[in-house]
Point group: C2
Chain length 567, copies 2
């Protein structure tokens, strides 16, 4: 009822009613004096009519002028009812907004706020995790960590060669990034008020395949003719609609143009646009655009080949033997290995055990379910680990060290249950009840990333309140075989190493820890048998974490993992 009128400037009454809104003279009771947008902005009627072309009900004078010669006896009645209703609605809305303002503690009358950001001190408080300030930052560093051991990895290099090493590392990083599609292009931003519907996220097509693009719409103003263009770069466009070529041009090309004056036809064609990938590639994103006049919407179409499944049949009885293989590596400690094997067989008589051995003398193990692999002498700790897991044929592999001891608390079934029911790739237990869990936090930076190791877990594991999600655990864990191999154990780590595996797994392995599953550890007491004693002495020599090895591992972190430092 607040209708079109032939309003002209100077009709004071009309502006009075609408004008209160625009100038805030306070004629509505109780309304706070607040400054609004600049004068001349579109007015709002009570009752919500928003368009700039509409004005509140005009004066009797204006209406009379537009209506010369009409029957007018009913007009004043309608007019005054309408005006009265408008006033009532206006008052109601003011009261409502006032209440809303009150709930937010009305801002006192004051000059406009200065637009500034929070000071760095406050930002540090807001965006810190585990004492590490994460955002916003351009560089990372390890120096601001107090009372923490820190490593600066480039110190492991001879200063004379550091420059050359840095350059080589940069080249290798660039190759790696090219293959990973890094750095990502800046985010695709949608502009406001686009007259289009389109898919924002989730449109995927396999290479060489075709999909229907969902959600394409044009909802702009009517026009005598509509010319809508779609453009792609890594694929071609078409439509399933059966229409002549003068309506759709560019079928099977990178640019498809729809030209029609029939809005229903336009809608129909848009609802049936197809995208066909024409280049065989992995993990690319095509930016497809949808245009009408000067309005352009852009949306992503991801070209991706899903990884083919690699499922394992647990067999009709789901025997543990068909689900889990035990793997271990041994070196110069055959007595310890045999003790481990005996303890396994006490609880799990038929689980396959894979043994990788780089001792001088190969062993002859009499056990139908032990698979024994001989390696070059002293080839190494992680080489042996990688070898052992490369031979697993079951869905899960349980890693144990050769000096562990199975007990009645070593319940593999519990670990299997965790992996079956969660999204973890690896779940560790505890050794002799000692809980060992650590988080790894990575800060990325151009000169090399900063790695922060902190004990504990990130959060409880959904569905398993005694377990946590973390980044690293002990050498007693169950893992999805495929995921474990995807990371692998770097064969260059020959002697002491542990953390390195979990660092290599960052971003790939989701790790959990369930300390209630416990494995024992054989005592460190010296052996009585003289032959074994000699071997153990030899073993200890290899086992020492010499300075040269430490330097080697730090240098490896620098180059391989593109790290700058760690705390």
């Amino acid at each position: 009822m607040c209708a079109l009128s032939g309003g002209r400037p100077g009709t004071a009454g009309a502006h009075q009613l609408g004008g209160v809104w625009a100038s805030r003279t306070g004629s509505a009771p109780g309304l706070a004096a607040v400054s609004y947008g600049p004068p001349g902005s579109e007015t709002t009627c009570p009752g919500g009519a928003q368009s700039g072309s509409q004005r509140c009900a005009g004066t009797p004078q204006g209406l009379d002028m537009a209506c010369a010669g009409c029957r007018r006896w009913w007009l004043p009645k309608i007019f005054f009812s309408a005006a009265g209703l408008c006033v009532v609605l206006f008052i109601l809305k003011s009261v409502y907004l006032q209440a809303k303002f009150d709930s937010f503690k009305p801002e006192p009358s004051r000059p406009p706020l200065v637009l500034k950001l929070l000071p760095e001190v406050q930002l540090r408080n807001l965006f810190t995790y585990n004492g590490i300030w994460l955002f916003p930052k351009n560089q990372c560093d390890c120096d601001s960590m107090h009372l923490r051991r820190r490593y600066n990895f480039q110190d492991a290099y001879d200063p004379a060669e550091l420059q050359a090493v840095k350059a080589r590392r940069q080249l290798e990083l660039e190759h790696f990034q090219r293959r990973e599609g890094l750095p990502r292009p800046p985010p695709l931003l949608a502009q406001p008020n686009l007259p289009f519907g389109y898919p924002v996220h989730g449109v995927e097509v396999m290479p060489m395949h075709t999909i229907l693009i969902p959600g394409l719409q044009y909802e702009g103003p009517d026009a005598p003719v509509y010319e809508v263009t779609l453009r792609a770069s890594l694929g071609i466009l078409n439509t399933l609609a059966d229409i002549p070529d003068n309506v759709v041009q560019g079928r099977g090309q990178k640019q498809l143009t729809i030209l029609t004056s029939d809005r229903k036809l336009l809608k129909f064609v848009l609802a049936h646009v197809t995208y066909t990938s024409k280049v065989y590639q992995h993990n690319k994103v095509d930016t497809v655009s949808l245009e009408y006049k000067s309005s352009v919407a852009k949306f992503p179409v991801t070209i991706r080949h899903p990884a083919i499944p690699r499922l394992h049949d647990p067999g009709p009885e789901r025997k543990l033997r068909n689900l889990v293989t035990i793997a271990t590596k041994t070196f110069l400690r055959p007595h310890k290995l045999m003790t481990l094997l005996q303890s396994i067989r006490k609880y799990y008589p038929d689980l396959t055990v894979i043994v990788a051995d780089d001792s001088k003398q190969p062993l002859n193990i009499q056990d139908d379910y032990v698979e024994y692999y001989s390696m070059p002498f002293g080839k190494g700790w992680f080489a042996g680990r990688n070898l052992a897991i490369s031979q697993v044929t079951t869905k899960y592999v349980l890693w144990v060290d050769d000096d562990f001891l199975f007990t009645n608390k070593t319940k593999i079934e519990v670990l299997v249950d965790v992996l079956e029911k969660t999204e973890l790739d690896v779940v560790g237990g505890s050794v002799l009840g000692n809980v060992y869990q650590f988080k790894l936090l990575l800060e990325q930076s151009k000169n090399g990333d900063c790695l922060h190791q902190r004990s504990g877990g990130f959060q409880l594991l959904d569905g398993f309140p005694n377990c946590v999600v973390t980044s690293g655990v002990v050498n007693f864990f169950l893992a999805h075989t495929e995921r474990l191999l995807r990371v692998g154990f770097d064969p260059r780590l020959q002697r002491v190493a542990h953390l390195e595996f979990f660092v290599d797994g960052l971003g790939t392995l989701l790790v959990g820890s369930c300390p209630e599953v416990i494995i024992g550890h054989q005592p460190h007491t010296p052996v009585t048998d003289s032959e074994w004693a000699t071997l153990e002495k030899s073993y200890s020599k290899y086992r020492t974490n010499t300075n040269a090895q430490i330097q080697y591992k730090l240098a490896l972190h620098y180059f391989k993992n593109h790290l700058q430092c760690s705390t």
Copy 2:
């Protein structure tokens, strides 16, 4: 000048001018008679005024009525000039549109188009690759391929157990899919005419980290107060803006509300909204919403931990020895292995060669750069392949069979160049010049996927016109060691197998073929040495692709790869 008027129905003149557009009586010269939308739709003025509330310049009569008592001497002049200009503009636009229509071959006068899709016959023509109809389909099948060998994998199972096998496979598939985030949720669709700017694609945050959300804007109509709400589910929101809590509520929560009447302040806050991931997880997508009154925009924020780099230092001189390791597997053919090694050493005296051997008697190879691994007897072909690659410490690994022969055409450097410069993971050469390349096309389906193997390549390799992108090659290839291990060779494949590796690699390995790099093959002539002859006889026995093995492999494709059939 085509202005508001107090037009009333029945004023024939007014409708004549505007009405021509609506009913197409052909009064504009040369304009084709085309049917448009239903009568009563909004009219368009020449000159482009689009709003439904405006009409073209009214009649002198109407204007007179609206202007009783005004000075009127100048009105007719202005009116006729305006009307004249309107007519001119109208004619110009008609001519323009006519020209545009002409370029598209004007549609003859006919009833509205029936909205239908192309018949299946035509769709098959449009969306076929290599003779395989790919789209649109619900199910895949292998039966429509004529003259092609096809395998139906479930035939490899005893019909009595097939039902149970199917059920187990389905359970395993569901577990796999859960871990992979499948099936993907339906695409996120943007509605038209949202008054928001927001990021459509590309916003990623590491778990536990914080990012700024780019591109947030509100560009709707002015209002006395703006209440804009942002909602997240897998993380919390905040703002870097330094403003009081009565303007922004919910800082550090999943719902952030901005309430202000200051448009500049709203813009400032929106430009500095942060998202913090609060749950440690991999590869999740949070749908964040931006709301104002009834308008809602939704956009994705991806929570993803980038895979940490695993770079290899090629050393200051980029010696091939630091870049490439050769790997092979041997069984009961020590003479062939030695011949291979001798041929390698002729061209590459210091490349490391890894030999995995599951023969009965271990060999003693006198070569400083050969690493020899002993396996349980007859453990198997793919187990040995997996073992060998698990020991590689260089960036690339070159796979060769133990009966190949290096020649002067066996240029490893060419293959290295290809992998260094392209995105391929694997590049194969040719054996004795025989080009062997095959494409693998996968059609996904609920009951198991259909796999189609076709010879040749998908396209030429960018930058290497003698090479193609394909899916499978010969057993002579250079590969990124990490990528190769990510797929691995399934140790369950003990005897004859080749294709299976490339099938397992679908979606993970990008494979190319450069046939100009040629390796020789040792002749199949029987050996004279009696000891070797005995071994070869034994070897041949193991090498036979028995029916039992074929059935085993088909069953493996059924379960492991979730395949239905192949052609």
